[in-house]
Symmetry: C2
Subunit: 790 residues, 2 copies
């Protein structure tokens, strides 16, 4: 153990810091237990205690200890520090600290910094209509919801990117440290540029226990833990003990050493004297779980044991009332709060001032700092499409050129980054690397490709880390895009849940300003997994996002490059949303010129008149499509119908914005009933070729007039390593099956239809024989263009 | 660097191993490139090359190298080794090796071990109707699909649990090593009991690059990597280089050292002389990406560079034909294969024999070894329910007693474990700890709770690791259950996808024998997050699973303890499925005695006659429910209706097996149209109270006759920290809203209904005022029992 022996604090400092800690701990216990009598001005009675005891004590005193030591450093050095409370249920501590420094009452005036406010502070905690037991959007100073564990450190790294003066002090609980996302996020230091980014100070807080078990990192040999942190590139500074007086000196010394090291690394880098991979400091703090709480409860150990994790004791036994009162009085509240219940000046004077308080820094309410991106005109990147289907293009490559220039336009403000799990170029966004590099602060060798410490393309083979970085970046007021293979974005399903919940909750909090939307580009999608197989084929992320609140979720399926440009521009200008864009990266026919693309995307859905032949009449069938590959197959099917069944009146409807399908009552983008019926008719068959699982379309349109006539084709979970066209055949989404679907569903067709249906079957057999023999698609489908026989 | 200097191999051994490696590499390149002329008996022409070049070369030669060295060790020491290929796209190598050792041809006789078979071997790779580019269910010897990265090491640890004679040699790619799930899975060694479990030998294979970027672990200082592995509890043995002759000696020495260490640790533990946390060996192998491939392509480096990741060059340039031929001929195939194309005896003689071949060990086809669990009679655990609603019970606690005895019954065969992210007791499965402990091989201290190296309850705060361990355990022929908070099971969405795909693919492979189902108990569900808030409320995992193939996915929502017992018994006896059980852990009224529960669960859905008053007639309204909390609210609503609107005829339908709702054509459990209509009528309003997102019910029943009259209540994403009853109120799933829903939808009600609806509104206001004042639910809802006014 490498315990610092310095004693940087004066006795008076220790005394005052002890006062603060006692006050914060008192306020924490009060929140968990008390409904009334907050200052214990009268003997504690059962009716002063909450009827439902909810909350988590175990982690709280340690958090309070760290928080107050950070305050010392902030004041001493005039720093801007973002506090991230990784431990899931630390809200009693975080809220207590922010109340002590005044921010809580400034934010919520009714919870004033006096006895009356303390009453409300206690009552609201884990109480109906009150606040949750983990830091949340309503907590001043927080960008991190401590509900689901694993993301504190990636949030911290994301927050300090392009924030050279910000230091994120990130408390990692030893429970959270067992999660996979946290375990890999230590490596964020390889992607941090000390010259232009801020710093992260991880504080691994070893309480020793999770809910009911010891934690791995608390029980491995200390030398192993030291090696682990060294192996992750840190210089671990260790502090361990339980005597508050000793621990005050030890943690203060550790903090001094850590912040000295940060300053040294940054000064060296900023004077051009930096080295790659500087060894950043981190702190390992071992303190008892439920520190300063009851030593035993009912004869069993509480402090320092897993039993202190949540509420250390309930009030079912009458003798617990005395236990609670003794515990509360052990903090001697009468010394901490004045007659009016205000914390005494010796305590409040320890807090930093104004916007330097961790609960008040603007970076923790990123919308305050968010500046809209400077956007070039997306129309300048338009692909020339002289006629529908006339040219081929790689949609995401066109988007890449647009993103390159967005990157360029915002180079000075440094508030835009793109993120990908080693897939930026695979996703055809290569052009971005013309104006920036991939962030990389480790060793480079000849023939490496575009690596530099100041790169703005963030690539690590961890979807979790990409997502966590991006969230941290957005929550502190910047912009970004996450590009990912469609199937593997499911890896972050649960993180998306949490971010959606954060956004929904934030919208109801007036002081939380809107932040830039979380934008996904999903490509290498289910239909074009040419290099891969079944394991890479899953379009279900859309379904996952659609379950989120309507005011948060958007899903776009632009069928070609110009529609993708419009959608990209639209999403990057939006706020407080989760935008999912699914688009292809392979060379595919292009349908709309820029003008048509704008018109089409502005509606989000519409008839493609050039592909339809029902002008001024009711169609016999509506052929709808959403997604690039389904659009191609529908148009190829329409092309076949035109020539084989020329009297059939077909209307083609393309859907870019999936939310238009939902009723207007359920989603703001939803079409009115009239508009929907005008597009889809009230009684004609609708053959709908959809990018993902067909059920989603049914679930979106089940309330619509004509729903019973909707026949949806999509991914039926029939995947394998095969050709692009064979993939659609296996899932019956191909042109030949679609034509047969039309014939099956349009009543009163001529006898010729029977012959056409047989011809479609023959085509499918021909296809099957061809790919088995040649291993590629028949030229007639691989090279098909619209209109084929025009 | 700690390079072993021993030279354990004779010159002849090196020569023969070099022959094998050349053959395996030749076969790998052949699979990626060749459609014909497999033995290069004639000059290579363009028509011999595949029209679509798909596959991954970069990782393959290293995998081949490792594989052949493992073969040496297996032969020398008569070991049973399971090979896990973590690198995503290593199939060319794995398949080549299994073909060389004969298993591939034994499994697929048409791919014979001769020239004719080699032709088929090459052709089928990444070819329509053929095999994917990563190890997959069709690969003999594999339990691990290399599509999505991150799970190799947790699969390895899961596989060796209770397999004392098995050693899993797990190759971790340096790309995969960046993922979160992999980063934490190193800690599997703290949960391994050397006395009764097998061993894992991780081989971290540093090729240096991912798709387009260097990898983190390849570029940090070697001392840091050493520290990282030491910190994870391993003794790293390092091998680095590119000269095959030197590398053969070095890897052989490293393997000797590693397997010696494993033997030593196991012998000590098994002789009762073991220590906690033995320092297991692991190997760090640094070898060039695309080792032995072309040094340069078009003047740019290929071997040792990221450009070697996939296909190092395409055939668009005519000069590449010569490059390919030179590359292939550099392995001198004429020396490796005889006239008939069979590998020469000097090569095949290096493989282990029969069932010792890694591609043939029965553990890799776990169904071969699976023995059904010995199950006590679940009826013995029945809760006595003298009348519906007559008693309260904690459903999962009752299940825990059943699980305890299952654990006991199978103690001898050691083929059942339960897994949880530190939630076993929180989920009320405590009773299991009466007969076993939590697995824990690290330090213990007084007051720890049920920790022991031979524990069979696996708890780490990582849903990824729990899932990976369980998958590895099941795939090697054992049984298990994963209990988890409902919201956080989304963390493994993507892993569930991959396992579902594995099961679907396996079902189509005759030699893959069925394995035990992957069983989830989801509790601490959306409606009862008393300690937590919005972040813990998400019922969407059901939606995710329902997208999987019908023959794989099952979802059960038992409303009480006895139905949960039946469902548990049923799921633990099933195979090749993913069973999701959602059940409550809080004290709740119990509805069915065991006999009724059996009858009800056998149908999966049914009318509860004791709660209905439509006997022998058509009801005015059907009130359906699925899930414990919705069932409670529906019954409370029915109770209100009975007293307030006694003439209304209500039918109560409870759904245990969600898949009964789907059409029979879509799911084998689906009700026929007749049966569905008999339950839900063809024209009466159906008020459906559902556990999760209402849309799922619509999507399941949209084809049913009476769908237009379905009105579904469920989770509307309105969550917070509040009381149980307030949660249902916020989502309009409560009894008062349900009564109002009935009144709104049943036509022709008496004027009295208007008064009742107003009374319901008053009740909701009363509720709201009460919880804000008291912080708990009104006694009349908290203590409600059926029938309230009987």
């Amino acid at each position: 153990m490498d315990q610092p022996i310095a004693t940087p604090l004066t006795a008076e400092q220790v005394d005052r810091m002890t006062l603060w800690w006692r006050a914060a701990n008192y306020l924490s216990v009060g929140q968990i237990y008390l409904l009334a009598n907050p200052l214990l001005r009268e003997p504690l009675r059962m009716e002063h205690v909450k009827p439902r005891l909810l909350g988590h004590w175990g982690t709280t005193p340690g958090l309070n200890f760290i928080y107050l030591h950070l305050n010392r450093i902030i004041r001493d050095r005039d720093l801007t520090v973002l506090f991230i409370a990784g431990p899931g249920h630390g809200a009693p501590g975080v809220v207590a600290s922010t109340w002590l420094e005044g921010t809580y009452s400034e934010t919520y005036p009714e919870v004033s910094r006096d006895g009356e406010g303390m009453y409300r502070l206690f009552r609201q905690f884990s109480f109906p209509g009150g606040i949750p037991s983990h830091a949340a959007p309503d907590t001043p100073g927080s960008i991190h919801e401590g509900g689901e564990l694993g993301y504190s450190l990636s949030h911290a790294y994301g927050a300090v990117l392009d924030n050279p003066d910000l230091i994120a002090a990130c408390v990692v609980g030893d429970g959270e440290a067992e999660t996979g996302p946290l375990a890999t996020s230590w490596h964020g230091n390889k992607f941090l540029n000390p010259a232009q980014d801020g710093a992260v100070l991880p504080i691994l807080h070893l309480n020793g226990y999770k809910i009911a078990n010891p934690t791995v990192l608390a029980r491995i040999p200390p030398a192993d833990l030291h090696a682990l942190m060294t192996g992750c590139g840190y210089d671990p500074i260790e502090v361990a003990g339980s005597d508050p007086a000793v621990m005050h000196q030890a943690l203060a010394a550790a903090m001094d050493r850590a912040f000295d090291a940060i300053r040294r690394i940054q000064q060296q880098a900023r004077s051009g004297d930096g080295k790659l991979l500087p060894r950043w400091p981190m702190i390992i703090l071992r303190s008892p779980k439920g520190w300063s709480g009851p030593k035993t409860v009912d004869g069993k150990p509480a402090e320092g044991n897993w039993r202190a994790h949540q509420v250390p004791f309930t009030m079912e036994k009458p003798e617990h009332l005395g236990l609670l009162e003794d515990w509360l009085r052990s903090y001697r509240p009468e010394e901490l709060f004045d007659e009016a219940g205000r914390p005494i000046a010796a305590i409040t004077g320890l807090a930093p001032v104004g916007g330097k308080r961790m609960s008040a820094i603007p970076q923790s309410n990123g919308g305050l700092l968010m500046r809209p991106l400077r956007m070039p005109d997306y129309q300048d990147y338009a692909l020339d499409v002289p006629e529908p289907g006339g040219v081929k293009g790689e949609s995401t490559r066109v988007m890449g050129a647009f993103l390159r220039d967005i990157m360029k336009c915002n180079a000075e403000t440094r508030n835009f980054r793109v993120f990908a799990p080693d897939e930026n170029n695979s996703n055809r966004l290569n052009d971005i690397l013309e104006v920036t590099n991939r962030a990389w602060d480790a060793e480079t060798v000849p023939n490496d490709d575009h690596l530099a410490p100041d790169g703005r393309v963030m690539e690590i083979l961890s979807e979790h880390t990409c997502q966590g970085w991006l969230e941290g970046y957005l929550l502190t007021g910047r912009h970004g895009l996450f590009s990912c293979y469609e199937a593997f974005i499911h890896i972050v399903d649960s993180m998306v849940n949490q971010h959606a919940k954060w956004l929904k909750s934030s919208r109801a909090i007036p002081w939380r300003r809107p932040i830039a939307s979380l934008n996904y580009l999903l490509t290498s999608h289910v239909w074009r997994q040419d290099h891969n197989g079944f394991s890479h084929q899953d379009p279900g992320f859309i379904d996952h996002v659609v379950n989120k609140k309507a005011d948060v979720a958007r899903v776009y399926l632009p069928p070609d490059a110009n529609t993708l440009l419009w959608v990209t521009d639209h999403c990057l200008r939006s706020w407080d949303r989760i935008n999912v864009i699914v688009a292809g990266k392979q060379p595919e026919p292009q349908w709309l010129d820029m003008e048509s693309a704008i018109k089409h995307c502005t509606q989000g859905i519409g008839i493609w008149p050039w592909a339809s032949n029902d002008q001024n009449t009711q169609p016999d069938v509506v052929m709808a499509c959403a997604g690039d590959v389904p659009t191609l197959e529908v148009l190829a099917a329409v092309d076949l119908i035109r020539h084989l069944l020329p009297n059939l009146k077909v209307r083609v409807v393309n859907v870019v914005d999936l939310m238009t399908l939902q009723p207007k009552s359920q989603h703001p983008h939803g079409l009115t009933e009239e508009d929907f019926d005008a597009l889809f008719t009230t009684d004609k068959p609708v053959i709908f070729a959809y990018h993902g699982y067909p059920m989603l379309i049914h679930r979106l349109v089940y309330k619509r007039t004509n729903h019973k006539n909707f026949h949806v084709r999509g991914f039926m979970e029939e995947g394998t390593t095969t050709t692009p066209f064979d993939m659609v055949v296996r899932n019956r989404l191909d042109r030949f099956h679609l034509v047969a679907d039309v014939i099956d569903r349009v009543p009163g067709l001529s006898a010729r239809a029977v012959y056409v249906k047989q011809a479609m079957r023959d085509k499918l057999i021909e296809h099957e024989q061809y790919i088995v023999r040649v291993g590629a698609d028949m030229p007639e489908v691989a090279d098909w263009r619209w209109p084929a026989r025009g």
